[in-house]
């Protein structure tokens, strides 16, 4: 039988949130992409809760959008409830979140892919990787799929989610598979292990879903969407959707008692599951055990879509046996008669500890092989999509022979995310929090376009209309700013007025009607720019300092064993992580300023010629040699 061979520029394995963004980004940059998934009906599937965004995650969605990604447009088109979280706090904390119509979202993502000329979406099961070996160098050249076909490509992006050697647990029952009703992949795990990748295991979980028709909503509290819903995408001015409410209820002591009685049947406690799960997504059994004094835990009832009655019971993620799940549900106010449609489960899966990646998300072991999403030990749709986007961009840049795009920590949450992953590794599934970002005041959802679209335009990953739209906005912002500086009211410029905490944009419009011409998104940017200026200036000094360090590059093959005075711990860590700049090296935990000083000294030593004698050196009491004993 003849083997079929397909030729592409890039192959993306997996069509979840990471894979779809990867394929779309690479295609926008001109690459011919094959996007392979085991099931065409689960493209862009939300395996867990039916929501996009949230604190820090919403900012990421906006950043993905600013770089031309699909997530924001898809949720704008298919959301059923939109809320701006943290509204009562400062603008840096405002975070968009939306409930999605799960099926509609998935179809919208699929539609976007189907209408993208550069992407070939195919149903295939990848069984092995094609690797070319030259001496000790390994290079990815494609994948082998079930049915004896090869996809040849110059770069391969793996976005396998929870499907590597996945096992689902519900009580004592174990089923192979990465998502309810689906299978698992063993071939890729084996291929990675064979190549020398370190694999580890994580665990995550999901709650039961119930039939909404059987919920007594009168016993719950309604949580409506915002009156004036804000779109996620910078390309959308308004949202035109009818919003659906969510509902809030609580567990109680009765529920907790049942859980306590059945702990021996919970895989997390019986020893059946040993791998680590995310602490911020604890199962209900975890919550009951660890916070025994809490008499109730909050539960959100989230509709899964407009055309289905299925409701996601957010807050009781569990792997307890079916009968216990039934018993728990019956004791929750509003859910007394609720019918479970899908039982909750925990899933264990392989991931590749991400310190095996360069900041471009290319693996250190195999050239042309990129990892994105849960395979890197992260959790969350937004985190996955962000990595997919960057892997797609960097795979495309690699084909062009261009430098990879590595976003900095002061440029984007995406930069924080990837830098954390590749520099610090993970010891639990990684989720973004705003507290992870040093420059939180800069990394706002409202200015993601100003931060990132120009970068996207430079590398060709954003559509021209987006760049034009931003340019017009920037011009308007500049114009408004000029007016504020020029117009004086009662002895102070309007800009000075705006700096006062009690004065807002609308107060200025009252004093200077000319300002009424500016649309709200422009006014908002001007107002934040002026009000945050002092704090941002402080950050800026710190950023410039980091930038200077980031400009000091470390060769990828630098031999840390050639530094005899380096401490053992530092040598081990630096050799493993192989930071590419001094700035990155300084962020590795346990690396001290003295280690960095040594490193700088060595790197400079390779390039700087020694100037031994300088006639201009006057004699000095404190000569060079004296410093050992005097500079403590």
């Amino acid at each position: 039988m003849a083997r079929t061979v397909y030729d592409f520029d890039i192959v993306v394995v997996g069509a979840g949130h990471a894979g779809t963004e990867a394929a779309l980004a690479a295609a926008r940059m001109g690459a011919r992409v094959a996007l392979l998934t085991t099931n065409l009906d689960t493209v862009g599937q939300m395996s867990c809760n039916p929501a996009i965004g949230g604190v820090a995650k919403g900012q990421i969605v906006r950043e993905i959008d600013a770089l031309g990604g699909a997530m924001a447009r898809a949720i704008d088109a298919t959301g059923i409830q939109f809320r701006m979280l943290n509204c009562r706090k400062g603008p840096a904390m405002h975070s968009p979140r939306a409930q999605a119509d799960k099926k509609a979202y998935q179809q919208e993502i699929k539609r976007i892919i189907e209408t993208s000329p550069g992407v070939a979406l195919r149903q295939e099961t990848v069984e092995d990787l094609l690797i070319e070996r030259t001496g000790s160098r390994l290079r990815a050249t494609g994948v082998i799929v079930r049915g004896d076909a090869w996809y040849r490509a110059r770069a391969v992006i793996l976005t396998t989610g929870t499907f590597l050697q996945a096992i689902m647990h519900t009580g004592e029952t174990k089923t192979p598979g990465g998502r309810a009703g689906e299978g698992t992949t063993a071939g890729i795990s084996q291929a990675l292990a064979r190549l020398g990748f370190v694999l580890a295991r994580f665990k995550t979980g999901t709650p039961p879903r119930v039939n909404g028709r059987t919920i007594d909503y009168s016993r719950t509290t309604e949580q409506p969407g915002d009156d004036d819903p804000q779109p996620f995408s910078f390309m959308n001015d308004r949202l035109h959707v009818e919003q659906l409410p969510c509902w809030i209820t609580y567990t109680n002591e009765g529920v907790h008692e049942i859980i306590r009685q059945n702990l021996h049947r919970a895989p997390m406690y019986s020893g059946q599951i040993r791998s680590r799960g995310p602490r911020y997504c604890p199962s209900i059994e975890d919550k009951v055990v660890r916070f025994a004094d809490k008499t109730r835990h909050q539960i959100f009832l989230e509709p899964e879509g407009r055309r289905t009655a299925e409701v996601y019971v957010n807050g009781i993620s569990t792997s307890l046996p079916r009968d216990v799940q039934d018993a728990i549900i019956r004791l929750i106010p509003g859910l007394e008669r609720a019918q479970i449609m899908r039982y909750g489960y925990a899933v264990e899966y392989d991931f590749c500890p991400p310190d095996q990646l360069w900041p471009s998300l290319e693996t250190k072991l195999v050239e042309g092989l990129f990892f994105a999403g849960q395979i890197n030990g992260t959790t969350g749709y937004e985190e996955a999509a962000a990595q997919g986007l960057m892997a797609g961009i960097n795979a495309a840049l690699r084909l062009k022979g261009a430098e990879p795009l590595v976003l900095r920590r002061d440029q984007a949450y995406i930069g924080v995310l990837i830098d954390d992953l590749v520099t610090c590794g993970v010891d639990e599934p990684y989720r973004m929090f705003t507290s992870r970002a040093e420059y939180r005041l800069l990394l706002r959802h409202d200015n993601a376009d100003r931060r990132l679209t120009p970068i996207g335009e430079r590398i060709g990953v954003v559509e021209p209309e987006r760049a034009v739209r931003l340019r017009e906005k920037l011009e308007a912002i500049q114009h408004a700013r000029q007016i504020l500086q020029r117009v004086v009211y009662e002895g102070s410029s309007l800009e000075q007025w705006l700096r006062r905490p009690e004065i807002g944009w609308n107060d200025l419009v009252a004093r200077c009607p000319q300002l009424a011409q500016f649309p709200p998104e422009v006014a908002q940017q001007v107002e934040y720019d002026v009000k945050y200026a002092g704090y941002i200036a402080r950050d800026q000094a710190q950023i410039e300092r980091q930038l200077r360090l980031a400009q000091r590059h470390i060769p990828a093959d630098f031999d840390y064993h050639s530094l005899p005075h380096l401490r053992c711990e530092a040598r081990e860590k630096l050799s493993r992580i192989r930071p590419l700049t001094i700035a990155q090296a300084s962020r590795i935990s346990g690396i001290t300023p003295a280690d960095i000083a040594l490193l700088i000294a060595h790197l400079e030593g390779r390039t700087t010629r020694r100037h031994q004698d300088d006639p201009a050196q006057p004699t000095s009491a404190a000569s060079a040699g004296g410093e050992v004993s005097t500079d403590p």
């Binding site: 904390m93 604890p282 909050q298 003295a594 000294a601 201009a616 410093e627």
Partner: protein, 467 residues
């Protein structure tokens, strides 16, 4: 914190203890601007144009607790361009070798645009400028790395004394507070009230007060002044005061047969070897534990006070001379037990050697045998003291380390005050969190770094978070 080569840095670059001259070195792009605010007349700084030069002038010196500015004569060496040791604009101020003066000049330099150099930073710059070869630079940096950790811990112990604990506690408090504030920012959908505005203000105020206390303590505590503190310790009537007089060569302390003759402590300065020593004769206290042969002192207010003063004197001592009356019938078990409990910086002195022959005891237990009465063993004791002080000399807190401590505490304090101001005007918890981080970073320069994970760990261990 990673050394930024574009900062202007300052450090003391001379030997500190008792040197006739003290040298302060400044290097970096803003050297001239900084120096103009230090020297008088300021024109001296730019007088030589681009050429290296030296001149005589004055340096401003102001002390925290003194309103006046003094002018101290100084020789000023200038390298206005890159033709210096570090290939950056550099200067050296050669001043009288007085520690308070050097300290004050460092402080003023830091207010004038320079920052304190990290250990080895001048060396690093010199290396980058090609002034040292790699082996030299590495050796220097390696030594400095080892010294720096010890320096800081010594500094914290000696400078902050009893408050170094509260510094670590304060760091923990601030981390908890930051965790609460961050939790309120990141986990808005939880039904948990992480911290109220009132609590935030209250906890910030308390933290500010603690830090104020530490800061006060740091400035009040005098720096090492080149004089080593040697404390005489031991049971009452062990012969401490006699030894004190004997070492001094004159009767300064009243000596009697009665236990407890010395009620407070006496001090006197003398030279031992090359060291200037402040000898402190403490009131005898009960020995570290039950030693059988010694009647414990009657418990009384005065005795409690005496023993506290003795403890305080010992706390800052470089060397403790533990005196034992060799003529007493010590049992071996008692001695073994007793000597085990002595602090590391102790030297055993067997007194009253003229009353009995006890050379075997010395042989067995170590220490020096002296007779204050006849003067035997005193020369040997002096030698032993000098040798032990020589060992501890490098553990002394340098003004630079002290200044770094003060600097860090000062930075932390201003950040906390700003946090409190922001909390007061309800400017937003994200801004308060920023200042809390700045305060923790500053304290982290002394006690260890802050990691984000540290904060998250606290959040997750204390609150039930997540759906």
């Amino acid at each position: 914190m990673i050394p930024d080569l574009n900062d202007t840095i300052v450090a003391v670059a001379s030997h500190l203890a008792g040197a006739a001259r003290g040298v302060i070195r400044i290097s970096g792009p803003d050297m001239a601007d900084c120096l103009e605010r230090l020297v008088h007349p300021p024109e001296l700084v730019r007088r030589s144009g681009r050429l290296p030069g030296a001149c005589q002038g004055w340096v401003r010196v102001a002390f925290d607790d003194h309103p006046r500015t003094y002018f101290v004569p100084a020789r000023i060496l200038l390298w206005p361009t890159g033709r210096s040791y570090t290939r950056q604009p550099s200067a050296e101020l050669h001043l009288p070798g007085s520690l308070p003066v050097l300290h004050a000049v460092l402080g003023l330099a830091c207010q004038s645009g320079a920052r304190l150099a990290y250990p080895g930073e001048f060396t690093l710059r010199a290396f980058l400028a090609g002034r040292l070869d790699l082996a030299q630079a590495e050796a220097v940096l390696g030594v400095i790395q080892a010294q720096d950790e010890r320096q800081l811990s010594v500094a914290l112990r000696q400078l902050a004394g009893g408050v170094s604990n509260s510094l670590e506690q304060l760091r923990q408090t601030l981390l908890d507070l930051l965790a609460d504030v961050e939790a309120g920012l990141d986990f808005v959908e939880e039904d948990i009230r992480f911290i109220t505005a009132g609590e935030l203000r209250e906890r910030l105020t308390t933290a500010c007060q603690t830090l104020q206390k530490v800061a006060d303590h740091l400035t009040r505590r005098h720096l090492f002044d080149g004089c080593y503190r040697v404390v005489l310790r031991g049971a009452p009537n062990a012969g401490k005061s006699s030894l004190f007089n004997a070492l001094l060569g004159r009767p300064a302390a009243i000596v009697s047969e009665r236990e407890g003759t010395t009620r407070d402590y006496l001090t006197a300065e003398l030279e031992i070897g090359t060291f200037r020593v402040r000898l402190i004769d403490s009131a005898g206290g009960a020995l570290p534990d039950k030693h059988g042969t010694q009647t414990p002192l009657p418990a009384g207010k005065l005795d409690a006070l005496m023993s506290r003063m003795t403890e305080q004197a010992a706390e800052t001592a470089h060397l403790e001379l533990w005196c034992f009356d060799v003529s007493r019938p010590w049992s071996d078990e008692t001695l073994a037990e007793l000597l085990k409990t002595l602090p590391a910086n102790s030297l055993i002195v067997w007194c009253k050697a003229d009353l009995t022959d006890a050379s075997d005891r010395v042989e067995r237990w170590g220490g020096i045998l002296v007779s204050s009465h006849c003067g035997t063993g005193l020369a040997e004791l002096r030698q032993a003291i000098a040798s032990r002080l020589g060992d501890t000399a490098h553990d002394e807190v340098m003004p630079l380390t002290a200044a770094r401590c003060q600097d860090a505490v000062q930075d932390a304090r201003s950040a906390l005050q700003e946090a409190l101001r922001l909390a007061d005007c309800q400017a937003g918890d994200e801004l308060v969190a920023g200042q809390l981080r700045a305060a923790l970073d500053a304290l982290g320069r002394l006690t260890g770094r802050v990691y984000t994970e540290d904060v998250l760990d606290r959040v997750f261990s204390r609150f039930c978070i997540g759906k």
